[in-house]
């Protein structure tokens, strides 16, 4: 893929991270100031019941998956930039691209699987 497209996705991923990290800060640390997402069980946002309730929410499952994808892409693209500045040969350059793509896809698959199966796990654990 062309560098222009990759870089544009990099910027979009950065914006997504900014939005979702803001959401994270609001929910986890500023809930008293901005009670947009009231914790269903009250009390601390980090309490087991509230964490379990969020994990079972479709909205939060989607945000976890999108955030995971954006963070992985943004981070691995940055790492690729650093590695390419070590001036590897053409073959190694291709190897770096393939290795980072595979690593990103594997981590995304594992993280998405955790986020998607979390509701069931929470239910079995009494959440």
């Amino acid at each position: 893929m062309r560098d222009r497209t990759l870089w544009t996705w990099h910027i979009f991923a950065g914006v997504v991270i900014l939005v979702f990290l803001g959401l994270h800060m609001t929910i986890m640390h500023l809930n008293g100031t901005f009670p947009t997402f009231n914790n269903p069980f009250g009390g601390e946002a980090e309490s087991w019941q509230n964490v379990a309730a969020r994990a079972k929410s479709l909205f939060f499952t989607l945000t976890y998956v999108v955030m995971l994808g954006a963070a992985l892409y943004h981070g691995l693209f940055g790492l690729r930039g650093i590695l390419l500045e070590l001036n590897p040969g053409a073959g190694l350059r291709k190897g770096i691209n393939v290795a980072l793509s595979m690593l990103g896809l594997a981590l995304f698959a594992f993280g998405a699987w955790v986020a998607i199966t979390a509701p069931g796990v929470m239910s079995r654990m009494g959440g």
């Binding site: 560098d3 222009r4 544009t8 910027i11 390419l84 500045e85 001036n87």
Partner: protein, 277 residues
């Protein structure tokens, strides 16, 4: 008088002669430096008095031709535009511009820079090639449109920005600030219609994507050009183009050459006060 006294400075010069030297080395020469003496004047003095084989490039001696870019006391500068007194040191260390090969002594091999420059098509690209070859009028451009690229057109291609760029130092495929800045200069020119052609090269690894925005290119530019800004604006242009958000206007239209019309209320010149012998 203190202001006109001679000062003795030591020139540390990076010498290298291919085929003779295995690698560059430093040599020292002491010369008297009167106030106002430039580094280029000092090099001429060293050549005249001590090192007749010393090689460098220079031409205009007034910061216009861009030939005498060198690494002077650790910073890329024009030798003709740098007074020894402004260095505030008794030592003047001069080497060839880094990030380039060395042809001899202080002469860098600028071929890669000009090759990248050529590949990015730094000239007006229009469909009316016949008009460009045999002009019959002028291309319409407002002063506001001129302002969009004017500062980038002050570039003298001295290579100082390339020597200061950390990405050029580590990535041989990156075009560098001078060629990219000049590509942006023509992309921003309303008389140009070549954005689509340049986009092919700029979208690839040669384009602006590896720029870290360190800003060193703009810091060292002896003409006050801001290539770092050009590169960021170019990124914006290319991304907007990818997202179909870049407005497309046809290249500026041709207008007839304005013909001068003498104002009638201009008073006549006064009579001569001296006569021809």
């Amino acid at each position: 008088m203190a202001g006109t006294s001679l000062k003795q400075v030591t020139f540390h010069l990076r010498r290298y002669e291919p085929g003779k030297d295995r690698e560059p080395h430093w040599e020292q020469y002491q010369v008297d430096a009167p106030p106002g003496m430039t580094v280029l004047d000092g090099l001429w003095k060293v050549k005249e008095l001590f090192a007749p084989t010393l090689a460098w490039r220079s031409s205009c001696r007034m910061g216009i031709c861009g030939s005498c870019g060198m690494l002077i006391n650790g910073r890329p500068r024009l030798a003709c535009n740098t007074q020894i007194s402004e260095l505030q040191s008794d030592v003047v260390a001069v080497g060839p511009l880094p990030n380039f090969g060395i042809i001899k002594d202080l002469v860098p091999d600028l071929h890669p820079m000009f090759e990248a420059h050529r590949e990015l098509m730094p000239y007006l690209i229009r469909e009316d090639t016949q008009e460009q070859e045999n002009p019959t009028g002028e291309y319409w451009q407002t002063p506001h449109e001129l302002e969009r690229y004017l500062q980038f057109s002050y570039c003298i291609k001295c290579g100082c920005c390339m020597a200061a760029c950390p990405t050029v130092a580590t990535d041989p495929e990156y075009s560098g600030p001078m060629p990219l800045g000049q590509a942006h200069r023509y992309n921003s020119d309303t008389r140009d219609g070549g954005f689509a052609k340049r986009r092919e090269a700029l979208s690839e690894v040669r384009g602006p994507w590896r720029c870290h925005f360190a800003g060193e290119c703009s810091q060292v530019c002896p003409k006050g050009v801001d290539p770092a800004k050009a590169i960021q604006l170019m990124k914006q242009d290319l991304v907007f183009d990818l997202l179909k958000l870049r407005g497309r206007k046809p290249a500026a239209r041709l207008v007839a050459t304005p013909c001068g019309k003498r104002r009638e209320d201009i008073p006549a010149a006064p009579p001569r006060t001296i006569t021809k012998a």
